[in-house]
Amino acid sequence: MTAMLETYPTDTRTADITDAEAIDRAWAAAERVTDPEMPMLTLLDLGVLRDVTIENGHVVTTITPTYSGCPAMATMRDDLQRELLEAGFPDAEVRVSLTPAWTSDWITERGRQALKDAGISPPGSAPVRTGPVALTLMPTRRAVTCVLCGSDNVRLSSEFGATACKAMYQCNDCLEPFDHVKEI
């Protein structure tokens, strides 16, 4: 048995477990938390939940914002703390990590499937840059297919959508309007 978790001695669930067991339990709890704006995705599948560790007997989770102005960060933090509290970790700390910056490439395969199942088009590969950002005066080229009928005859209605991370598309065949998670 390694060092006892000092977190909350009166909580019988975490009073006498090892750090390894505690991390497993904390990960399991943190993995249940979903994105407040895209609840079909867990924070892990979205790539926002970066790490869960034990430091000095406390659970520390690390999240990274998708966009600088993401208004969901506070809710994510509160949801993480609540889920960890219910798992027996009442003083879990949530840290924000700015580096490396979030990229849509971190959305997991399971996350991409969950987006598709919910009628949201998942992102393609994020652009890889070497040198200055190129100016793009034509609509962004993406291999997007309609989430309803599968047609690739779709048009971009706006690069900006209902949340910071989405663009808006419409299918020219079945006319379904749908969201597409942007590549960044």
């Binding site: 966009y67 960060m73 933090r77 580096t99 950002v133 706006s158 900006f160």
Partner: protein, 326 residues
């Protein structure tokens, strides 16, 4: 309830360490929020730099770093406020949402930059009464006067029509993207991280504005004429973007900031590409003069009247209730 029927008061501490009294009454909303007491006019967000190492790098003057972050933060805050005035006023829903998204990205950048400024140099932060729950970034946003703001004057220009909006966003984001791309190499890891995030966001802003500039220029006589009028009106503020303030010289030498003069050529070339695609000429107007014998400009805290009016609207409620909580 205690024996003498006085309501029990328990004292809690909110994140700012402020004592918070809660009467022993039923509150329909209790339990909905983790943080019971929030300053009423800020965000419900925690410190945007929570858990981020804000140590100032070796060999860097913390005052210079703070002043520089304040400049960049004020640019983003004031321009965000301007663009957000478009909310519900754009020509169509898609453009309304796009402008709101751009304003939101800039507000996020402003929060990080102002929080970085406060962490680097706490003396920048306005003092408020003891126990005030207002976090540093909001003190900087809501409790400084126009003379304390260090934004370039382009950011404060009052809104015109939609052509003016896209022209202004194109100019701002072309300039800013060139600076932020270089800032990703800053020795200050916080600033570098903020810039890396901002580059991704502003690439979308610049493309959005550039496409609209081309569309309007190649649209009708009316749309082209409005666009050209807007560009001519904004052009006197272009040269100020590339003038170097002594603070910018100092941070560039220390390897944490960018001398804006060094991005002038690149930004010009990019803008000319848009003008070429749009089939319009680069405006020919001299720069707007500064104020006073020293010719002070935005980075010196000397602004156009428009900034005072913008700040009055943005700050009035917060200033009326500096300790307001909900």
């Amino acid at each position: 309830m205690t024996a003498n029927n006085e309501p029990t008061i328990h004292v809690e501490h909110d994140e700012a360490g402020t004592n918070v009294d809660h009467g022993d009454h039923d509150n329909a909303y209790s339990g909905l929020l983790v943080n019971d007491a929030n300053w009423a006019f800020g965000t419900d967000f925690e410190d945007p730099l929570a858990g981020v190492d804000t140590t100032v790098p070796d060999g860097v003057d913390a005052k210079d770093l703070g002043a520089y972050c304040l400049m960049l933060g004020d640019d983003a805050l004031v321009f965000s406020q301007r663009i957000s005035e478009w909310c519900s006023n754009a020509p169509d829903l898609e453009e309304d949402i796009a402008l709101a998204n751009i304003a939101l990205d800039l507000l996020g950048q402003a929060r990080l930059l102002l929080a970085r400024a406060a962490a680097a140099d706490p003396e920048l932060v306005p003092e408020l009464p003891e126990g005030s729950p207002v976090p540093d970034e909001d003190r900087l946003a809501f409790f400084r006067n126009d003379l304390g703001f260090r934004n370039v004057r382009l950011a404060e220009v009052p809104n015109g029509d939609f052509a003016e909006a896209v022209a202004k966003i194109l100019i701002y984001s072309t300039w800013r993207l060139s600076i932020f791309e270089r800032l990703t190499d800053s020795r200050d890891t916080v600033l570098a991280a903020i810039a890396a995030k901002g580059v991704k966001e502003m690439s979308y802003h610049r493309d959005f504005a550039g496409r609209w500039v081309v569309t309007l220029a190649r649209g009708t006589e009316e749309s082209k004429s409005r666009l050209v009028t807007a560009l001519n009106g904004l052009w006197p503020l272009w040269s100020e973007l590339f003038e170097t303030h002594p603070v910018e010289t100092a941070v560039a030498e220390a390897g944490i900031g960018v001398d804006p003069a060094t991005v002038a050529d690149e930004a010009s070339v990019i803008l000319d590409q848009v003008f070429a695609a749009a089939g319009i000429d680069r405006p020919e107007r001299g720069g707007l003069a500064g104020v006073g014998v020293h010719g002070g400009k935005g980075r010196d805290g000397l602004h156009t009247e428009a900034l005072s009016k913008l700040l009055a609207e943005m700050q009035v409620v917060a200033r009326e209730h500096p300790e307001g909580q909900w």
